[in-house]
């Protein structure tokens, strides 16, 4: 294995530019003659717009033009990319999502007008001079209240506030109810999955440019998937054909899902650049990000688990209310359904499962995928109810899990998906070994000696990554394919430029994708460069989310590179005057099997481009191949997490003493990067469990609208993590045997933390504390302890 091939913890090549201030993020792009836009946003959650007076603002210094909805004739609404069918067979209710508010404002932050001026400050100053007369309407915030008879309607033209009422698997509904009616034991848990804000450190930015001489549009934007933005914005919003629209997502400062979606600001700057014949730039402030980036989670509901006398799971039933916010963000409808219901089997053999999800419109910022997306919600429900059930029936929570583990693969779950491979006992054994569960009692006594309550919690997770195949997701309502693409361009002297439809915004593709190609050919990774993020030079691809880059994008890369190697072997056979079947590629050399005759990689590449001695009659010159890869199944990363906490009984403050993760990601290309992905996911999951909460007041005002109010995890909130990925069962259906590692940490950690805190309190005699809703702030923990 070359030192920088598959399996090597190669240094990231991205790092030098980021460490020296030479990254090129969207806000670093400034075009000649650029104007700036400021969006005047609604400061109330729900209201009817009576009038907008822009006269005074238009006369302010530097103002070029002010736009309201009336100025956007011909501009379409922001489209939704997934149509869910409800349990009665009807399509979901799908409201229009205008670029600028039409008639009504529906959440704090809904854009009402756009001021374009010479400078950002002038645009902001002028926006303050716009007079908007809005009739206040009662805001609807609580999801159950939103569905009550006579509740105010977020969208006047829809029937109530219900987007859909989804049942899965609907045919199992009565069988599940029957199993519950006769079960030996039923455990019930009501829980909330708190609303979160993704908060990548780079706020969103969009720069629109228009070249009237060629009628070409360019959008520079902070996106995880520039091709998806080009398709959605070009086809559905602005009516620009793809060959006249280039979307560039340069260095992007994190996404975590929030930069998947097509946003109104992107469409506006593209539209305004043509209207004004000048580049138009928008840079979000953090305050603006809090009220305009799609938010995450926000599920409220009940889960019930039926068990027999031996602790075998008989049936599982959930009822969940999922907040959609005021409009449907790009993939919002799919998150609580296909990315959530399909994971409710977890790692367990539960024969009967019924999931009911009611998606609800409220006067809040739209909700969509955030790291994990549906799978953290499923895992939290399942792993909390199992812990509660274990306590109720007097069984060790570890043993209850083991008793019900899926142990034979492939495994057909009762919720549609088929797990290809896994070994849940192996990850659990490894976890308990690293976490030293045997030694817990001694540590607990030591904590008790210091007046602290120590607890130990575990959680398992399984996720479905690399969502696919396209024909299946099409049946499930996706309005897009979910393949990935790669073009491998070998240059004449043997260096390689790879063009991928994936996008890297922290994941390190420029390093890992090069490792894969270099490994397959046997050349140093330094000979391979990865190009991504520009629709003008990369093949149509679906981008990066759902831990799909290596499993889907990497597979496309392997396919394209395999085509390259096959063609290169033909060239080598010609140069070596040997049969193609006898040519072997090893360490960058093509050799005739069983001989010492060989030709190296560079000579074959040169022959392809200077084809003097070349089989021109049977082979085209050149060495460049493109491949698209559409997976045959999801991948199923799985693992076991352990959290050990101390609770201060005086204050309720929770301190994480240890956090151990044992993950099965299948094969690993760069272990250092994989561990870094897990660390980041854990921090976000622990953040959800202990710190983060997006809170609206009863009028729909966002109370947690800045880093002063929304508790982002900081360095002194978190421990060093202990991370292991040695239990690997390679994916059986993709060429690299990889599963994806980007979301695991955020999925498995919240229930592990909550289980640990409940364990600490139970052991200390607080028998009435069976659950605390996240985030487990000191106030909430203290209140739970003293609730009786």
């Amino acid at each position: 294995m070359p030192k920088d091939g598959i399996g090597a913890s190669s240094k990231r090549r991205e790092d030098v530019r980021f460490l020296t201030g030479r990254g090129r993020y969207t806000d670093d792009i400034n075009l000649r003659g650029q104007a700036h836009v400021h969006f005047l946003r609604s400061d109330i959650a729900h209201g009817r717009i009576r009038s907008i007076d822009t006269a005074a603002a238009a006369a302010m210094p530097g103002v070029l033009r002010i736009f309201t909805a009336a100025d956007l004739a011909g501009v379409g609404g922001i489209p939704c990319g997934w149509q869910v069918t409800d349990r009665f067979g009807k399509p979901m209710q799908e409201p229009k999502h205008p670029v600028l508010a039409e008639g009504k404002v529906r959440h704090v932050g809904d854009p009402i007008a756009a001021v374009v001026a010479e400078t950002a400050e002038q645009a902001r100053d002028a926006a303050e001079a716009i007079v908007v007369d809005i009739e206040d309407l009662p805001a609807v915030l609580d999801m159950r209240a939103a569905l009550a008879e006579g509740a105010p309607k977020v969208h006047d033209d829809l029937t109530g506030n219900l987007c859909y009422d989804w049942g899965f698997v609907e045919e199992n509904r009565e069988a599940v109810n029957a199993a519950f009616a006769t079960a030996h034991h039923v455990t019930t848990l009501d829980l909330v999955n708190n609303r979160l804000v993704a908060n990548p450190m780079e706020p969103r930015v969009a720069v629109g440019d228009y070249d009237f001489a060629t009628d070409h549009h360019t959008l520079y934007t902070t996106s995880q998937n520039p091709h998806v933005i080009r398709l959605l914005m070009g086809a559905f919003v602005l009516g620009i054909p793809e060959h006249r629209l280039r979307v560039v997502a340069p260095d992007v400062g994190g996404g975590f899902g929030s930069k998947i979606y097509h946003y109104a600001e992107e469409a506006f700057v593209t539209f305004a650049a043509k209207a004004l014949r000048r580049p138009v730039k928008w840079t979000a402030s953090r305050s603006e990000a809090f009220i305009s980036d799609a938010q995450g989670r926000d599920h409220v509901g009940r889960i019930e688990l039926a068990l027999d006398a031996e602790g075998n799971f008989l049936a599982l039933r959930t009822e969940t209310y999922a907040n959609m916010g005021a409009y449907l963000s790009t993939f919002a409808p799919s998150i609580p359904t296909w990315l959530h219901g399909t994971l409710m089997a977890g790692n367990y053999r539960t024969p009967l499962i019924y999931v009911n999800v009611k998606a609800v419109f409220t006067n809040t910022v739209p909700v969509d995928a955030y790291r994990g997306a549906g799978r953290p919600e499923a895992t939290f429900q399942l792993e909390r109810v199992i812990d509660k059930a274990a306590r109720e029936i007097g069984m060790d929570p570890v043993e209850l899990r083991r008793r019900n583990f899926v142990t034979e693969f492939p495994y057909q779950t009762p919720v549609a998906v088929v797990y290809d491979t896994g070994d849940y006992n192996a990850t659990l054994d490894r976890l308990l070994q690293i976490a030293d569960r045997e030694g817990f009692e001694a540590r607990r006594l030591d904590s008790a000696h210091h007046g602290r309550l120590r607890g130990f919690g575990i959680a398992h997770y399984i996720e479905a990554c690399g969502i696919a195949p396209s024909n299946l997701v099409g049946q499930l309502g996706a309005r897009a394919g979910l393949y990935e693409s790669a073009t491998v361009r070998v240059n004449a002297t043997g260096s390689i430029s790879v063009f991928t439809g994936s996008h890297s915004h922290g994941q390190g593709h420029e390093t890992t994708f090069a490792q894969v190609v270099a490994d397959m050919i046997g050349i140093p990774a330094a000979q391979v460069d990865i190009v991504h993020g520009d629709t003008s030079n990369t093949p149509m691809g679906m981008g990066t989310y759902g831990s799909r880059s290596l499993a889907v994008g990497g597979s496309a890369l392997v396919k394209a590179t395999t085509k390259i190697v096959n063609k290169a072997k033909k060239i080598a056979a010609h140069l070596l005057e040997a049969a193609e079947a006898d040519i072997e590629l090893k360490d960058g050399k093509f050799a005739v099997a069983g001989t010492d005759r060989s030709v190296d990689w560079g000579a074959v590449c040169l022959a392809a481009y200077v084809p003097h001695n070349y089989p021109l009659e049977s082979l085209e010159p050149g060495l460049e191949e493109t491949a698209f890869y559409d997976p045959s199944n999801f991948t199923y990363p799985a693992g076991a997490y352990a959290c050990e906490v101390e609770v201060d009984p005086e204050t309720g403050k929770v301190t994480i003493c240890r956090f151990v993760a044992a993950d099965d990601f299948g094969n690993v290309v760069n272990p250092m990067i994989v561990e870094g992905q897990v660390h980041g996911g854990l921090a976000q999951g622990i953040g959800q469990a202990l710190l983060e909460n997006c809170v609206y007041d009863g009028n729909g005002q966002l109370l947690s609208g800045s880093f002063m109010d929304y508790a982002m995890p900081r360095a002194d909130d978190l421990p060093f993590y202990e991370v292991d990925h040695s239990c690997a069962t390679p994916c059986t259906h993709n060429p690299l045997g990889v599963k994806g590692c980007g979301e695991a940490g955020a999925i498995g950690s919240p229930p592990a933390v909550v289980n640990a805190v409940v364990d600490a309190l139970q052991r200390a005699g607080y028998a009435h504390v069976t659950h605390i809703d996240m985030p487990l702030t000191p106030a909430r923990v203290w209140a739970a302890m003293h609730a009786n």
Binding site: S9, F18, L19, R22, M201, D251, R286, E675, F707
Partner: protein
């Protein structure tokens, strides 16, 4: 508009600014030094940290005019002129202390200020000092490890994989 003059990364520069222009705006928009980032508007995230007269400062909390005559160092001035990374920058790469890179300039500038004050900090001291720099990608594990490694301490007991 008012005239302002300061030394940035060893070079004296002058420019015209409004009274309300922040130092970070002057650096990014006036001087094209886009390595210093803006990640919030409440002086919480630390992406904009630079050194002003040797002190780590959030450049979004300082008016450009307040830096009149100051000696300012930004992330662009941390590596050697030939591009060789400083030991701290190199430790961030060796220990995978960055992912998307957006918080990185501020994180490096804060960590450099810490090591100047306290050449062998403990883990707790590093975490406490970096409390004003938010990173959403790394979970801080490898950042803390990189800073400890840059201070010459053995970090092998903290787990995690370093680059080969």
């Amino acid at each position: 508009m008012a005239k302002v003059s300061m030394k940035i990364n060893g070079q004296v520069v002058t420019g015209e600014v409004e009274g309300r222009t922040l130092l970070v705006q002057f650096l990014r928009e006036g001087q094209g030094l886009t390595g210093t980032h803006v990640g919030c508007d409440t002086s919480q995230c630390g992406a904009c940290v630079v050194h002003v007269d040797g002190q780590a400062v959030k450049s979004c909390t300082l008016l450009a005019l307040e830096a009149e005559g100051a000696d300012v160092r930004t992330i662009e001035g941390m590596a050697a002129p030939d591009g060789t990374l400083s030991p701290l920058q190199q430790a961030f790469q060796d220990h995978h202390g960055l992912q998307c890179g957006f918080c990185t300039p501020g994180m490096v500038m804060s960590a450099a200020a810490l090591l100047a004050e306290n050449p062998r900090p403990t883990e707790t001291e590093v975490r406490h000092y970096l409390e004003g720099n938010i990173c959403r990608c790394t979970g801080y594990h490898n950042i803390v490890k990189a800073v400890l490694a840059a201070s010459g301490q053995d970090v092998s007991r903290f787990g995690g994989i370093a680059a080969e």
